[in-house]
Amino acid sequence: MASSINSTGNGYNFKVVLLGEGCVGKTSIALRYVENKFNDRHISTLQASFLNKKLTVHGKKVNLAIWDTAGQEKFHALGPIYYRMSNGAIIVYDVTDYDTFQRVINWVTELRKMLGSGICLAIAGNKVDLEKDRRVYTEEAEEFANKTGAMHFHISAKLNENIEEMFFQLTLRMIEHADLMEQKSTLSRTSSIRRNVVVVEDEAEETEPTKSSCCSGSSHTS
């Protein structure tokens, strides 16, 4: 959380990690968002694990660094190394596989425990195009998200459904959070909140599930 913004000039630099079980489609989501391609032969990047996306929100330049993580269970313990210093996290599950949702619960609980409210969370149920095989029910997922102060989205990387929206909303929230932190630091001059120094503060009431702004999706530039 600490070195959150680096608002050099009028821009933001955000680090967003993609968490979740393997094969839930983390990479597809990132590729769909950044390259707008799905299982395509013409994907220009060599790798899909570190992607950059530039966008402008409310006249401010935002650079999203999207970090893919290894989802296998055996690498779960490495999570803290990945999500250290990140501003946002998207935790992905497969709507057709309940086990993957179980992993989401684990992740979110861990993130909240380790980073408190310093990180903006979005839970994403992927593969809604396979609606007929759904195993994870919307009510349960949304209830959990509300409880933990995370946003919840139903997305499909295959059909490019809701993905832009999800990243945009997460960005909005990260900006909000970054500005808040900036204010605080200038007020109290709390120096040395660099790196792994975690300042835990109770501000759980920051959760406004859907901040439906009129400009959603309009001011995207790649």
Binding site: K15, K26, A65, W67, A70, I81, R195
Partner: protein, 602 residues
């Protein structure tokens, strides 16, 4: 195993080891010893000098015993002192007595530092750009004060505090670049370069102090991870579930390059250079994965592959390098980009290796322990696979080499055949042409007024003309080549080498039976030229050359007419040289005389 593929840049591992041979890594700043041995070595040296000083006051005879005992006492005392320090958990450091020492140290660090010179030359443009401006002075000032601060604190503060100082310096300097009026008219790109340069320069300068410092346990950690990786050398790609086609030669090449890149990290100095080694390594891994995955690889595939590479590379001083980067690189600048991502993955890989269990390799606890203790060696380890692959690889290389050579030889052969054919063709053409010409124009020499002169004589001036002999008319055949060619050769020879050592015997032999008849046209002409030349020594050879050259082209261009002309105007030939100068007449007369005398002799 990797000896064939290790980069040439790198130093041998033996060079890194302690001079004492204790198995730990040595360090140039400790005169090639490891920290422990160096401490002992220093103590020994110090006590020796002290002994010497001590011994001076005594008789030489008695001093021996005394020094030994004093030495022993001293050693004991030291050991005790050290124990006390250890008990108190105080690391053995130089006391802060020498406050002025850092100036000397700075000088020592700056002097003869090839890496520092390299940083300077790499950034020559930047330095030239800011040279002699307030910017340069300010940068210098900032950097100097930071370096001094580190040098002053290096023995007093913990490494974390030093890291804090460094990070603060980066931040303060970046802010200064943004806000200070001195930097107002500098473009953002230059500012970025300045930031990079300052970090590079300062870290390269302080590398000896800040990399794997003796007051941290970095070295122990290095050894621990090294040992751990060595124990895990049986782990194969299959164990890690990483999708590497070990049998493909392309993939193998990439494995080697990424291993090399990772190993290079230790020889790089500045944190960003180390980081770029990691980036190269990871990019190669992605290239490698692309071969097997068939698309952009995700982290699910990348991390196991990276772990595999780290296991196979077993980079020297891995922990020290990682710590150095985390502590002293400009976190806000480097850790957010691609480099930061790869570096994080490297940390993950190391952490995974450290905490590796049977479970994480999906194998039986018992098997795992057997492999770890070395009791059992798996049949299909990467090592043995590579061993076979290595020889296969060599064979492949040899085969390609042979193929190349074969292609070259066949090419040469066909070229040679072509040439041969052409030569034959040329010969045929020539032959037919000559025959044709000969058929059309049989060589007839009707009249010849002059005869060859005797050139055998030493004295050129005494050449005399032979008595006039009336040539007979008869057809001749010229040996084998074209008359033009022969003529040309003889003409040129005559002109170029107008020496008295002209090769006469053959000429004489040629003519010996028929000189009087002057059948051989060639000899006749050549002699003409020769005699002509002899008589006109004063005249420049150039003139002759020009004249011959002028003559030749027309003779080749219009063979028939020219040739025809020869025979028809056969009588004119001898008059050609005569027309070039009147002098010739006298000398040719002399030549003729000489010639007759020669004839009489034979």
């Amino acid at each position: 195993m990797y000896s064939t593929k290790t980069p040439t840049l790198r130093i041998d591992e033996a060079d890194l080891k302690c001079k004492n041979g204790c198995g730990f890594y040595g360090n140039a700043e400790w005169e090639g010893y490891c920290s422990k041995c160096y401490r002992e070595y220093l103590q020994k040296q110090r006590s020796q000098t002290e002994c010497n000083v001590y011994g001076q006051g005594y008789d030489l005879a008695s001093s021996n015993k005394n020094t030994i005992s004093a030495h022993q006492k001293y050693e004991e005392k030291k050991v005790q002192q050290e124990k006390k320090y250890k008990l108190l958990n105080i690391s053995f450091r130089k006391p802060v007595t020498k406050v002025q020492g850092y100036q000397e140290l700075l000088y020592e660090l700056t002097k003869d530092n090839p890496d520092l010179e390299k940083v300077k030359t790499d950034n020559r443009d930047l330095i030239a750009m800011i040279a002699k401006t307030p910017v340069e002075r300010d940068v210098r000032k900032c950097m100097h004060s930071f370096i001094i601060e580190i040098l002053q604190n290096k023995d007093v503060k913990r490494i974390e505090e030093l890291s804090e100082i460094t990070q603060n310096f980066y931040q303060v300097f970046a802010k200064r670049l943004e806000n200070s009026a001195k930097y107002a008219d500098i473009t953002p790109e230059i500012k970025e370069k300045l930031l990079d340069y300052v970090e590079r320069y300062a870290m390269t300068l302080l590398y000896r102090i800040l990399f794997c410092p003796p007051f941290t346990n970095d070295e122990e950690k290095d050894l621990a991870i090294q040992k751990r990786i060595r124990q895990l050398n049986w782990v194969s790609g299959k164990n890690l579930e990483c999708r590497i086609h070990e049998t493909s030669s392309e993939v193998r090449e990439l494995v080697y390059t990424s291993i090399t890149d990772l190993l290079n990290m230790d020889s790089a100095k500045a944190p960003q250079e180390k980081l770029s080694c990691v980036i190269y390594c990871c990019r190669n891994i992605f290239l490698m994965l692309q071969q097997s995955v068939g698309g952009p690889a995700s982290a699910d595939e990348f991390l196991p592959a990276l772990i595999f590479i780290v296991l196979k590379a077993n980079p020297a001083r891995l922990k020290s390098n990682i710590n150095f980067i985390t502590r002293f690189c400009n976190a806000s600048r480097l850790m957010t980009g691609e480099g930061g991502y790869y570096f994080t993955n490297l940390c993950c890989a190391v952490s995974f290796i450290e905490n590796l269990t049977a479970e994480s390799l999906n194998m039986d606890e018992k098997d795992f322990n057997a492999y770890m203790s070395g009791e059992r060696v798996p049949a299909n380890t990467w090592e043995s696979a590579l061993m076979i692959c290595e020889s296969l690889h060599l064979m492949c290389e040899d085969i390609t080499l042979l193929d190349e050579m074969k292609a070259k030889t066949t090419e040469i052969m066909t070229e040679a055949l072509n040439l041969k054919e052409k030569m034959l063709q040329f010969q045929e053409e020539m032959k037919s042409e000559v025959n044709m010409v000969l058929d059309k124009t049989p060589l007839l020499i009707t009249h010849s007024q002059r005869l060859p002169t005797n050139l055998d004589c030493e004295d050129i001036e005494s050449y005399q003309l032979p008595p006039p002999i009336i040539p007979q008319v008869c057809p001749t055949t010229i040996n084998n080549s074209t008359p033009q060619n022969d003529m040309r050769i003889s003409l040129i020879e005559d002109c170029i080498t107008p020496s008295p050592t002209f090769d006469f015997p053959s000429f004489i032999g040629d003519d010996s039976f028929d000189v009087s008849k002057a059948e051989d046209e060639t000899s006749l002409i050549s002699l003409d030229t020769q005699s002509d030349f002899d008589t006109q020594q004063d005249k420049s050879t150039n003139e002759l050359l020009v004249s011959t050259h002028l003559n030749l082209p027309c003779s080749t261009e219009s063979e028939q007419e020219d040739y025809h002309g020869f025979t028809v105007q056969g009588s004119n030939i001898p008059t050609i040289p005569c027309s070039t100068g009147d002098l010739s007449l006298n000398s040719t007369e002399m030549d003729c005389e000489n010639y007759t005398s020669y004839f009489h002799n034979t």
